[in-house]
Amino acid sequence: MIYLDLLLGFLKVGFFAFGGAYAAVPLIRDVVLDYGWINEDMLSYIIAVAESTPGPIMVNLATYVGSTQAGALGSFIATTAVVLPSFVITILIMVLLKKLMENPVAKAVLGGLKPCIIGIILSVGVEMLLSNLGIRAKEAIAFDLTAAAIAAGLAVVYYGSRKLFKKGLSPIGLIAVSAVVGIVIYGI
């Protein structure tokens, strides 16, 4: 039954998808192609849509696949299934966490994990910025001056507004501004 397949398939994705959406893409591909829900081309298209719409990419993927396979109910089941494992695991960890955090060995491990994750986050941001400016791996460098100007402009507006005004521009505000700037510069 398709509903049961969607439930089991996306529970599997939610439970084994470590390290963010991109690390999970191979796993998602396996599951989705295994069940024969969509083909490789459709998967690439759905990933692109998931990236260009708000929300976690994995959740978007589950909703999209569920919806194309079994309508609104299918998308509801797939989305719930992909969310459920991390929901339950996070609550379990929080219940156990308080005692664990006091442990000096756990503290030492966390002391290594935190800077490592900060480094990874920084690298992701730098990589995304460079890729937007036309600097990508395995490609000839085609420096995109327009994108560089937009990036500089957004940074000035973002930090400038926070320096000048008490509240300044929020991250959500910056995203809204950037969408308008994109439409104005790149056209309809």
Partner: protein, 190 residues
């Protein structure tokens, strides 16, 4: 009830505006939950990030569940998690049912080009804020720098490097340093 509703609405707002995956989400959740609403401390935000990275599933779900649970128990966790998922659920459902060629719509593509740049700026900003509040010892700096350099190098050399492997190495290094310090401390005490 009002608090549950506030959790739901706040996370629905976060869900509706975070493009570009988990790391962009962290920057927005930190801004709203730590600075504006003060539901969690900066330290807790860092812990959530660690938990989110080392457990399966989307980071946004881990964050929403953590903050919601802390505020209002299981009901709060459910309210926040449903809130963060609902906007994208509705948007994708509509797109998948009615828009075959969503990405070929001109203004969508243009808006997204702008948004992608903003997301990169926000992620770098989030990382810089975390660096500012990081303990300022040599080992911490070194782990941060090495992790960042390794990830960038892997990308540009097209080598596969899982962030989980890096995290395991970092944890092992930090644990070794801790054990060495303890041994040194014991011998010094004798």
């Amino acid at each position: 009830m009002r608090e549950l509703f506030e959790l739901f609405i706040t996370f629905a707002k976060i869900g509706a505006f975070t493009f570009g995956g988990g790391y962009a989400m962290i920057s927005i959740i930190a801004q709203i939950c730590v600075e504006t609403k003060q539901w969690i401390t900066h330290d807790e935000m860092m812990n959530i990030t660690v938990i989110a990275e080392s457990t399966p599933g989307p980071i946004a779900i881990n964050c929403a569940t953590y903050v919601g649970y802390k505020q209002k128990g299981v009901a709060g966790a459910a309210a926040a998690t449903i809130g963060v998922v609902l906007p994208s659920f509705i948007i994708i459902l509509l797109i998948s049912q009615f828009l075959d060629r969503f990405l070929e719509i001109g203004w969508v593509a243009s808006a997204f080009k702008g948004i992608k740049i903003a997301v990169a700026v926000l992620i770098i900003d989030a990382a810089l804020k975390m660096i500012k509040k990081m303990p300022k010892d040599a080992l911490t700096w070194c782990i941060m720098g090495c992790a960042c350099a390794a990830m960038l190098a892997a990308t540009f050399l097209s080598v596969k490097l899982s962030s989980i492997v890096l995290m395991l190495i970092a944890a092992a290094v930090s644990l070794t340093a801790f054990l060495l310090r303890q041994m040194a401390g014991k011998e010094g005490g004798k």
